[in-house]
């Protein structure tokens, strides 16, 4: 029992410590920290419609975080969720635009599939490079983010550009109204249903398949699974594909849901938020659901702070940064470190036979 609770206690401790550190920073910067936290809580949960905003952000964060945690569990540090999210949005947008006159029952699944395929492809090439030539996926997936960001800007302002708009922002033509899964609120039953189904499927994958358990063994000791005869290349490619698919799906849902159109640089912090959620959740699917609500709340508050409460939105960045610093610190006593982290670093030094 205590072994199960321990990661939860540890994550909560990290977050609490981060908030304490932020309080000090706020105070030093001349803002009342109590007022700041109250405003954040209002923006996240208490104000009218705050909870809708929170859920709107929690859903794509959760789906993307699931992808990140699958890769991390298998020991692959795919930090390209943002790029894979954009890649999925682009392919989904192209399909939605090409089939804009089609029946929604057919087109919506096709658009979602296109998003999954786009995200998967954008994770596949770093995966192949990693398996075939040992190229560090941290570098390749990070670079992939920039390429995908520029590709999105190109598609939104080029082939799919909305001719009727003012032209100030690179924005694509809106998708057909019939394809939308939600209004711009980003919350609907269909979106929620998809998120819940995906969450359950990923729990099955991680906890109840040979891939999930073998992958987590490989993530902690890749040499040992090779000595057991595991086809570690397949595990790696699987990890990258699942990871990219989920980010790509989130991209497609963003397109058909709240956004309604491809927009250059939309949801720019989603990928890194997802990485943070995966780490805070200790790479557990159920904990990621809870953490997504928390970080979804912070995202909602970052709009609320400057507009309603008159505080700088940078407060949210500071909180995110503080949590990132603490959760990734390696100098903690052995019992407190995120379990996956040391193994990931060890993998880089271990000699693969």
């Amino acid at each position: 029992m205590s072994a199960r609770l321990f990661p939860v206690v540890r994550a909560l401790t990290f977050v609490a410590l981060a908030l304490v550190a932020c309080a000090i920073v706020f105070q030093l910067a001349g803002y009342p920290s109590a007022g700041m936290f109250a405003a954040i809580a209002e923006g996240a949960f208490l104000a009218p419609h705050a909870i809708v905003h929170t859920i709107r952000w929690a859903m794509p964060l959760f789906i993307t975080a699931l992808g990140v945690l699958v890769a991390f569990r298998c020991g692959y540090f795919n930090i390209g969720a943002q790029g894979q999210f954009y890649a999925g949005a682009i392919t989904a947008g192209l399909v939605a635009d090409a089939l804009h006159a089609g029946p929604p029952v057919l087109v919506i699944p096709l658009v979602l599939a296109a998003g999954i395929a786009g995200g998967a492809l954008w994770a596949l090439w770093p995966g192949l490079l990693r398996v075939l030539s040992g190229t560090d996926e941290v570098i390749t997936t990070l670079m992939g983010n920039f390429i995908a960001t520029l590709a999105l800007a190109y598609v939104a302002s080029g082939p799919l550009k909305d001719g009727s708009g003012s032209g100030e922002v690179a924005a694509a033509r809106p998708v057909a109204e019939g394809f939308r899964l939600s209004t711009s609120s980003g919350v609907s039953f269909s979106l929620a249903a998809i998120v819940i189904v995906v969450g359950l499927l990923m729990w099955l994958l991680v906890d109840r398949t040979a891939f999930g358990v073998l992958g987590s063994l490989a993530g902690r000791n890749p040499v040992m699974v090779v000595w057991q005869g595991a086809r570690s290349g397949r595990i790696a490619i699987g990890a990258f594909l699942f990871s990219g698919s989920l980010a790509g799906l989130a991209g497609a849902l963003e397109l058909l849901g709240p956004s309604g159109r491809l927009l250059s640089g939309f949801a720019p912090t989603l990928g890194f938020g997802a990485i943070l959620i995966a780490l805070v959740a200790g790479l557990s699917v159920s904990a990621a659901a809870v953490a997504s609500i928390f970080f979804g709340g912070l995202a909602a508050a970052s709009l609320y702070l400057p507009v309603i409460a008159g505080f700088p939105a940078a407060a949210i960045d500071i909180i995110n940064a503080a949590i990132t610093l603490l959760i990734t610190a390696r100098a903690w006593p052995a019992k407190l470190t995120v379990r996956a982290w040391p193994a990931m670093l060890r993998r880089r030094t271990a000699t693969t036979p």
Binding site: A210, L214, V225, W227, G229, P353
Partner: protein, 505 residues
């Protein structure tokens, strides 16, 4: 009155003649043994008798009644039952289910678990098998599994019980218990036909001995009285092999005896690996039931040998056969499928994932087999691994605790529990006692000896010559990736030591 008579039985597999003109009549009510070397046709003979193999020609009779050949149902209906060499009970069944499975006892198609157990309780108790009817077969020790097999065979009023190499899987004490059980059965009227290959065992139990050599019955129903180990050995091997060299089978025989070698390296060369020289034209055969020790100054090819066996160092020339299968270029997973098990050099890196739960460490060997996306049952894997680890005497609290929390000796027991199983044909133990205390060392040596006694081939690599001399049936010395000498007991530390260092000069 004969329990079973064979009349001019011949079995051919393609070009190979497995049995040639065998005629023999086993008297009812006695304990008979059929012996012979590996590949002499013993198992084929047992299978013909049980109706599993259909002979190319010849007939079977019981009493005066002819029995249809190659028909298991007919043979079982006549009271002939076979206990296989490698057990054939489904491992996931409970004992009660296993007894019901394939039983010919009349009555009922649908049972509750309780009714099924009630149905078989008396049968199991009569036979004194130390298992509960609700136990799963896979959770039982090998000896008890065999007891259940015998109980299964006796379900339907068997008159002739055939056991194919029943001692191969048993420890010496368990063999005595098996023989006692067989004598009790015999006293109650069951004729027993044993396929054996160890002379000591034959002399301990058989009333008559028949000898197969290269598919021919060269001695039929010799009485046990007046037989000496030497005379029996002569009968098995043949006074002169040349006169038997009927065109059949010498080649087929050679192929077959090679098949029973646990591993056969022939002229194997590799590239160099990290921390070791390349293997250079290494030829080494390890038989089933043999421990071969690899001696050598560290860094003389021991690691390369293990890597080559594990398919982690590619073989550039030569061939590698595992239990008769050519696996020269097969990946490790396929080799494991043929029974290769490895206790690697680096327990904490290659053997275990210290930051993973015990049950995951133990289950890894099962998880690597089959499709990656198949569903698994973690609660059951936890339960099974708990049972197995307890049986191996691992001291642990919960199977969810990390392997890194165990002491070195306990951690090594986890590796043993995973790598030494009933399907193992070759166990490669690389420095298996490094860093262990005396009690844990003794445990490891005992486990390897028991595996050998069950018929596994074992390769042990150790830098401690005393240890190697204690356990090995044969010691091979490696120098610079070559075999520099081979020694048999009694070992002389000085000559072995000279071989280890001489080639440097």
């Amino acid at each position: 009155m004969s329990a079973l008579a064979c009349d001019d039985v011949t079995v051919t597999y393609g070009e190979t003649v497995a049995l040639s003109g065998v005629s023999v009549a086993f008297d009812a009510g006695r304990i008979h043994a059929v012996v012979g070397q590996n590949g002499a046709g013993k198992t084929t003979f047992a299978r013909v008798c049980a109706g599993i193999v259909r002979p190319s020609s010849g007939a079977l009779t019981i009493g005066d009644e002819p029995v249809p050949v190659g028909n298991v149902r007919a043979s079982r209906a006549c009271g002939v039952e076979l206990v296989h060499q490698s057990f054939a009970l489904p491992p996931s069944f409970t004992v009660a289910e296993a007894l019901e499975f394939g039983s010919t006892r009349p009555g009922g198609l649908v049972f509750s678990r309780r009714a099924l157990e009630a149905r078989w309780r008396a049968h199991l108790e009569n036979l004194d098998v130390p298992a509960r009817l609700s136990d799963r077969i896979r959770d039982l020790p090998v000896e008890t599994q065999q007891g259940v097999e015998i109980a299964r065979a006796l379900v339907s009023d068997a008159k002739l019980l055939i056991l194919d190499e029943p001692t191969a899987v048993l420890a010496p004490l368990a063999i005595d218990r098996l023989f006692a059980r067989l004598r009790r059965l015999n006293a109650s009227g069951v004729t027993v036909l044993l396929i054996l290959h160890k002379i000591r065992e034959v002399l301990a139990i058989a009333e008559t001995v028949s000898v197969l050599r290269a598919g021919r019955l060269v001695e039929a129903l010799l009485p046990r009285e007046g037989m000496s180990p030497a005379s029996l050995a002569r009968a098995i091997v043949g006074s002169s092999d040349v006169d038997l060299a009927a065109p059949i089978a010498l080649e087929a025989l050679a192929a077959e005896s090679e098949r029973v070698a646990a591993v056969h390296l022939s002229g194997v060369s590799t590239r160099a690996v990290l921390g070791g020289p390349a293997l250079d034209d290494v030829s080494l055969t390890v038989g089933c039931g043999e421990i071969v020790g690899i001696a050598g100054v560290e860094g003389n090819g021991q690691r390369t040998l293990v890597d080559a066996l594990a398919a982690l160092a590619p073989i550039t020339s030569g061939t590698l056969r595992l239990a008769g299968h050519d696996v020269t270029s097969a990946p490790l997973l396929e080799r494991r499928g043929h029974g290769l098990r490895i206790i690697p050099f680096e327990r904490n890196i290659e053997g275990l994932s210290l930051a993973s739960a015990l049950w995951q460490n133990w289950s890894a060997r099962l998880l690597v087999v089959g499709r990656l996306l198949r569903l698994i049952d973690p609660p059951r894997l936890r339960a099974t691994s708990r049972t197995v680890l307890e049986r191996w005497g691992v001291r642990f609290g919960s199977v969810d605790q990390n392997a890194g929390t165990l002491s070195g000796g306990n951690a090594q027991k986890v590796v043993l529990a995973r790598e030494i199983d009933d399907d193992a044909t070759l166990i490669v133990a690389a420095q298996p006692t490094r860093g262990l205390d005396i009690a844990a060392m003794a445990f490891v040596w005992r486990a390897l000896s028991e595996a050998r006694d069950r018929g596994c081939g074992v390769i042990v690599i150790s830098s401690d010559l005393d240890e190697l001399f204690d356990i090995s049936d044969r010691v091979v010395v490696f120098v610079s990736g070559r075999i520099a000498g081979e020694f048999r007991p009694p070992y002389d530390v000085r000559t072995v030591g000279e071989a280890m260092t001489a080639a440097h000069a």
